[in-house]
Amino acid sequence: MKRFLPLIVLALGALYLASTLREPTDKAGYNLTDFGRVPVLVGGRIKPLDTVARTSILSIRGSQYIATPDGKSITPDAWLADVLFNPAKADTYKIFLIENHEVVDLLKLNLEDGDGKKRFSYEQLRPQLPELERQARMVDSVEEPLRTPFQKQVMSVQQRVITYMQLKASVQVPDAPDFLAELVAFDKALPAGIEAVRAKQANQPHSEEAVTVMRQMADRFSYIESVGNLRTVPPDAGDTNAHNWRTAGGALIDSFGVGRVNKTVLAYALLGHAWRAGDVKTFNQVVDELHDQLAKRYPDAMKKSDVESRFNSAAPFYSSMTLYVIAFLLAVFSWLKWPDTLQKSAFWLLALAFVATTAGILTRMWLESRPPVTNLYSSALGVGWGAVFLCVILERVYKNAVGAVAGGMIGFATLLIAHHLSIGGDTLEMMRAVLDSNFWLATHVVVITIGYSATFLAGFLAIVYVVRGVFTKSLDKATADALYRMVYGIVCFATLFSLIGTVLGGIWADQSWGRFWGWDPKENGALIIVIWNAIILHARWGGMVKARGMMAMAVFGNIVTSWSWFGTNMLGVGLHSYGFMEAAFYWLIGFVISQLLIIAIAAIPQDKWKSSSSEAAVT
């Protein structure tokens, strides 16, 4: 049994991964999976409704879990169908995250009425929305770094409300009791209405009633045209210009010129009717039609859209996270019992998780047609990937579970960071003009990301050294030497990549604005990493530090890297600042303190270390 354990663990892990690739089954007969695959244009690219649903609920609620008032949990796709087609029902879901009590108070809400005391329904927010808007307008004039937590929360909640309202007005007029009937009637009245309006403009006899109906409809449509943001209506056949995708509201206003209601808009209205009426058959039929009609015209976009929705439901980064944790635990236990068996199991799981993460990153690259790292979110994926890659190699060479422990820990931590960064919205966002250079994204950004990974890895290996040395007897001479060599090697590697990456960044800057070095915060951050790695190497070469000192310095490298990675963005200045992150700031402080503590522990004289009583004659 013990002999086969690594194989069994590997097989179970692979089985788990395979299970995430299964096509999701839809409850209650609605073909929501295919509904989620219908593509729309929003945020500059064609994406499946499934992505719209997931990114919207993530930014409104802070997670993808949604519960109806009667306590049933529903999928993001089902939630989106409710928001689009049955807003009155969706308004009762307690999804709006409000984390600040003063804002809860501002909106005249009781904490007790919220789901978990922090999530409220649109229905509950509605009476105070004008007040929220008034507050947001005042905050707008305050510079972002100077805003108080209250002001920041006002802006976040306002943004959540806007996201929600944009969705609600994307395929129908939100308050329409039966939008399909309304459109059918409008379509019928349209020829006579247009005639009447023309006659009125020419001062000829006309039906005043028909003119009034047209004006009312025009008002209703312009509301959704100005609010709705999903471009659901593709351009006419033969037109491939992506700029000509329109919103339902825009297409409806066009119908005054064309003389009939746009077919896609009608199809969505029919979909809505079927959804509300519980007409499963019609719903599925219309979904198929929408899907097939676009599939013929946009084969490439549809292929991507299909793969993206499957990618969303497979969630490879989530499953990798689970595997990393298990690999970490197995590796730690291997130091206590069954060293060989558990080390092997941990190694295989780590490798498996690495493969899954790689597959996820490759899929993202293919979807985006971009190099792997394009924003803060993907930099977290990249840093984790690079570190785990090095760990897999270390583990393969040294077979002492150290690589598996560090890899499991870093893999899990970076994916967790990535998850929190994804709350901001769609992670496959468009690249702003200045960053739009696949060549530099593929060289500078990738190299510097690997530099970050290596610096972190050296730091985590050093933590393993310190913790095992001080608190356990497991740091024997062989392990200590191996760790020392690993940390030294990784620091060399980190110096190489962070230096080359930084200089490449300078060259990119020289290419794009004629300044090799501009002392921008992010540039400085990268420079500090290079300098710190150089300090470690020179201090070692000069004999100023020995093993323990180098470990402490490597741990400090974690602080340096985390500051460069996130701290510089928090300053809110410079060309690279992707966004100010309030909550992340406290995490960063916490991380820095924890690392300082480990350095303090490393400062305990070696003869007081638990390992020193074993035969660990480390110097």
Partner: protein, 391 residues
């Protein structure tokens, strides 16, 4: 060599010095980055990097004391340390070739940055669609100009740098038939219309200055703001004063006066650099991603025409793709006026190639070194494995 000299040499070639200098430079960069929130990027560069010592002004006084070594000091010592250590310890072995190449690259990079700091000039070129310009303008430097327009073919321009204006002295120039007296100078200012009854009375007695006065403003360091200088200027000819003029960058229209049968223009403007060629903006494009306001690309199609008639061609300048000509590089930097005006950044940096060479040297050097170490490690490892297998 006597003992003092030896200890002197040992100090400059020591690795300890390298490490301490690196630590100091790291602290300097860190603090400077934090201070950008208060001072903005330009002031930070002057205070921390392009200085020998970081000065701290004692609150409520004019006394500044040095509190930390500045960029030039640390960088200079680092350079000396680096060069000295290599000259002293240099011995060519393949094992060390990578490290030596990398350090030589680093020396070149530091020198390159020094040269850039000393020699590179940045300015901008703002062009409306269809407009042609022979010159670019400085971001921060200004000049007081007196222009004689009487020759229909060429203008005679006498430019007085802002620094000379700031000295508030009388200025005489061989091309000027009169003396220029600076009465008042304000580095940053605004203009205010003179009220009919109350408020400040005009200081100038000629031109626009009779209806507006200068309101001094605090000097700004913010990256997206610039200082607007103004001054009161008296024109004094041999036969006596010709009047006091208000010169300010706030004034958009030209102010002219007559002297000895010639028309002179007086203006305070951003310092211009004239070039032996002209650029014309043919078209500016601002592409966005469909259905969003996210910029996809900015590009300027320009016509480049040299004065000697040897060059007349079109070029497309866009993000990450500058135009290099005549020692100048033109980068797409901004736009204005509903996408009809382009703003190009113009850089003249004779040492721009150095970082590229340095980068190749350092990259190559570190790769060689890393390769040698890795190869050694693998050899040792497989030897150890083989030994273990035998045992």
């Amino acid at each position: 060599m006597n003992a003092t000299l030896r200890s002197f040499r040992d100090f400059f070639v020591s690795l300890q010095l390298t490490v301490w200098l690196l630590i100091l430079s790291m602290i300097l960069v860190f603090v400077a980055t934090l201070d950008q929130v208060n001072l903005g990027i330009w002031a930070v560069q002057a205070k921390y990097f392009r200085s020998f010592a970081v000065l701290w002004q004692i609150p409520d006084s004019n006394v500044s004391i040095p509190v930390f070594p500045g960029g030039y000091f640390i960088g200079g010592l680092l350079l000396i340390n680096l060069v000295a250590a290599h000259v002293y310890r240099f011995s060519f072995t393949w094992k060390k070739s990578g490290i030596q190449l990398a350090h030589a690259g680093l020396i070149l990079l530091l020198l390159g940055e020094l040269f850039t700091g000393l020699m590179s000039k940045e300015s901008f070129l703002r062009l409306d669609t269809g407009e042609t310009k022979h010159y670019s303008e400085s971001f921060s430097d200004n000049e007081l100009v007196l222009i004689d327009h009487s020759d229909p073919k060429t203008d005679l321009v006498v430019a007085i740098p802002e620094a000379a204006v700031a000295d508030k002295k009388s200025i005489q120039h061989k091309d000027l038939p009169f003396r220029v007296d600076v009465k008042e100078y304000y580095p940053n200012s605004n203009l205010q219309r003179v009220g009919p009854f109350a408020g400040p009375r005009p200081v100038a007695n000629q031109g626009f200055g009779t209806s507006v006065v200068i309101v001094p403003e605090k000097i700004t360091y913010k990256p997206n703001e610039r200082n607007i200088p103004s001054a009161y200027i008296e024109i004094v000819a041999p036969e006596g004063s010709q009047g006091i003029w208000l010169a300010s960058q706030m004034l958009q229209q030209a102010q002219t006066f007559q002297y000895a049968g010639k028309t002179w223009e007086i203006a305070f403007r951003q310092t211009r650099t004239y070039k032996p060629f002209a650029l014309t903006l043919l078209k500016f494009s601002h592409d966005k991603y469909p259905g969003t306001e996210i910029p996809k690309n900015f590009s300027s199609r320009v016509r480049l025409k040299s004065d000697d008639g040897k060059e007349d061609r079109e070029a497309l300048i866009f993000m990450n793709n500058p135009l290099r000509h005549g020692g100048y590089t033109f980068y797409q930097a901004g736009f204005d006026n509903n996408d009809t005006t382009t703003v190009l950044q113009v850089v003249r940096n004779p040492s721009w190639l150095l970082p590229y060479i340095a980068c190749v040297m350092m990259g190559l050097g570190l790769c060689i070194q890393f390769g040698i170490t890795l190869a050694g490690f693998i050899r040792k490892r497989s030897a150890a494995n083989a030994a273990a297998a035998r045992a």
